[in-house]
Subunit: 406 residues, 2 copies
């Protein structure tokens, strides 16, 4: 059993991961600055599900499972000394790093949020790596990255797991083969920070022989996992606001509130998805199958299926009976793109995913309808624009509704 | 004539650039936090040349040239508000960004300097870009990058100017042609921050249509330019300490102090060089030949010749009569590497460089010998090690001396 430090362990992915690893018998310490809760306050938003304080969560877990989870309130981006002291004392076998601002729309709101996202995310990642190297520790570091670093240029090629094989022409036109870090094309300040993280990992893996796994995750949907379902006080957060709510959550809330599903642009954007239950399974697989190579970062794509936003809306419309409306796209991105992604690493480790088709009805009933009375519908539209000359989600003529559904 | 903001305009490259652009009639405002002077204090080091305060420098320039240079003391990495206010008031046509911690050995000293380098360099670059985008300004932004982002993997191929043409195999083995940002392989935390800067530039050029030129500069040698020579109070700094002194400056000081030239390892490391006079000429060429494309960063290699460290030592030995000693290499790098670099862009703009052969004797007499009485020889060795298991510059048996020289 491993000593595991989970940075950002109070958040949407961090909390269920902490519970899952604790349930497997690992010694879990959560390090978190509770910034996600502070941002809720700042935005006047709230999780649809009534999440408890971290103290209550941990006490409830002890009651339910008999297991202890430790908690340290540290802002790792700002307090290097406290982070270093915690590491020196715990000497973790594994460090899981969720400690970054993770909403693309929030990262594009204004200079304040742009600068915060850069300072927080780069500072957190670098402090962590620098402290591990400085202390001479050898933990396996697992970072939650994003599929978004690859960008969504549609060239018809399958997106590999982090590294791209290319051929470079020499002076006499001979082609030299190289495996390079996939050239990034981030679409927001948030995604840009995750691209920059990759360079931090590359350097510290090379220079200090740190063992690093970077998980390029798709958009996470779903709320509950086997462990968070065990007690209402363990419930995971469900964000539906325009900043933190992912597209599927916002569709589900719109459906629960009898509002048309607002599709940005044509809805032709294809994205990769994964259920939160599979996220925690992937994290456990990454923990149990350590990166043993030094020198080169291990990168795995953590996603299970791809859908266009349009198709997603149609599935939700079919399950819930909601209408669909197309609105202007606040993001600067291609109207339509294909997406093919390799996820061979996790498949090979035995991941057997939950599909959207299978899990969506449960999510609708268990979360969106159950807690609909807590929803503030004014929070749902995305109002961050990517540049000044764009208009946030103005509702255009409502497209066909149930008849669209397949 | 242009309104030009020079961030880091009190530094080694910034100061002579400010004078050169002022002499050409541009309106120059220096923005600097004077951090380079503070780091001298911290290290107990000092410029060999007796540099004056920024106020005295500017007053002397007014006396000599009749021209005004403005100065604003702002820490752009920490004080976004002051930076934004300065930009809003000046509305510069051109912003030149030298405002980064620029010594690789300093960036590797300890966690304190590693974190400072990341916070300062990433914070400075991002704040600048974010403020320009937020204010809706359209200046030409010129950044001083480094050849070091390319790394020194010796594959025999010429290093292009920022972008690499590659071929990617598709499903049916058809090759797709792409021009990608050259995959970076930084060798220090400092170089890593410049690699990360590239992703910041890429994003803001794409998302906000900022016009950006990134100059990937070689190792700068030389001290004086046409303008700094006009008055002793205008003298440029000359660093010879193990942190900030470049290899050539340290050789020159060792020669002036009758100490053997300490070559790290075999001295087979090939690097790109440029004289400070050519640096300011390149900057003027970049200012006068604006980047007009938006969407893609213009990258130019700012270097004029390549040498191995061994050859460099031999040239200095020949000119000065010094001996040569090989010491352990504190850096984690290949013992020997070739280097071929394209510098077509500046050649095409008319750059006619000063060669090491031509300029070295003047540098020796004008600076190293003239100010040798100010030298503290204990500051010359490089004591930062790249990892814990390395030894800083322990002197190994002294190799042959003048007989080595070609």
């Amino acid at each position: 059993m491993k000593q595991i430090m989970i940075i950002g362990g109070d958040g949407f992915c961090g909390w269920p991961t902490a519970l899952h690893l604790s349930s497997k018998g690992h010694d879990v310490t959560i390090v978190d600055n509770l910034s996600r809760r502070a941002i809720d306050e700042e935005l006047g938003a709230n999780s649809l599900t009534p999440i408890e304080s971290i103290e209550t969560r941990i006490a409830a877990w002890k009651e339910v499972s008999g297991r202890d989870i430790a908690f340290l309130k540290i802002d790792i981006a700002k307090d290097y000394t406290a982070l270093e002291a915690a590491m020196a004392s715990l000497r973790p076998d594994t460090i899981i790093h969720f400690g970054e601002q993770r909403a693309a729309p929030y990262s594009m709101k204004s200079p304040v949020e742009k600068c915060y996202t850069v300072d927080n995310n780069i500072g957190a990642t670098h402090n962590l790596l620098c402290a591990v190297a400085g202390l001479g520790l050898d933990p396996h570091i697992i970072h939650l990255g994003t599929m978004g670093v690859y960008g969504y240029d549609d060239d018809g090629l399958e997106i590999p797991e982090g590294y791209l094989r290319v051929y470079i022409p020499g002076d006499d036109k001979t082609l030299f083969q190289r495996d390079i870090l996939y050239p990034t094309n981030p679409g927001s300040v948030y995604h840009m920070t995750k691209s920059m993280d990759q360079l931090l990992f590359q350097f510290y893996a090379k220079n200090d022989r740190l063992r690093i796994t970077d998980l390029h995750q798709g958009i996470v949907w779903g709320t509950q996992t086997e462990e968070t379902r065990l007690d209402d006080r363990l419930v995971n957060r469900f964000d539906y606001d325009g900043d933190y709510g992912t597209v599927l959550n916002r569709f589900l809330m719109q459906a629960a509130m009898d509002h048309p599903l607002t599709v940005h642009g044509t809805g032709g954007q294809t994205r990769a998805f994964i259920h939160i239950q599979d996220t925690v399974r992937c994290l456990a697989l990454a923990v149990e199958n350590e990166q043993t190579d030094t020198g080169k970062v291990r990168i795995m794509n953590q996603m299970t299926e791809t859908h266009t936003v349009r198709d997603l809306a149609q599935v939700v419309a079919r399950v819930t009976g909601a209408a669909i409306a197309n609105v202007a796209n606040p993001r600067k991105e291609a109207a339509e793109n294909g997406l093919r992604v390799s996820n061979q690493s996790f498949r090979a480790l035995g991941l057997n995913p939950i599909t959207l088709e299978d899990g969506l009805l449960a999510e609708t009933n268990e979360i969106a309808r159950r807690f609909a009375h807590r929803c503030n519908p004014e929070m749902i539209p995305c109002v961050s624009t990517w540049t000044d000359n764009q208009q946030p989600g103005v509702v255009r003529p409502v497209a066909a509704t149930r008849s669209i559904a397949a």
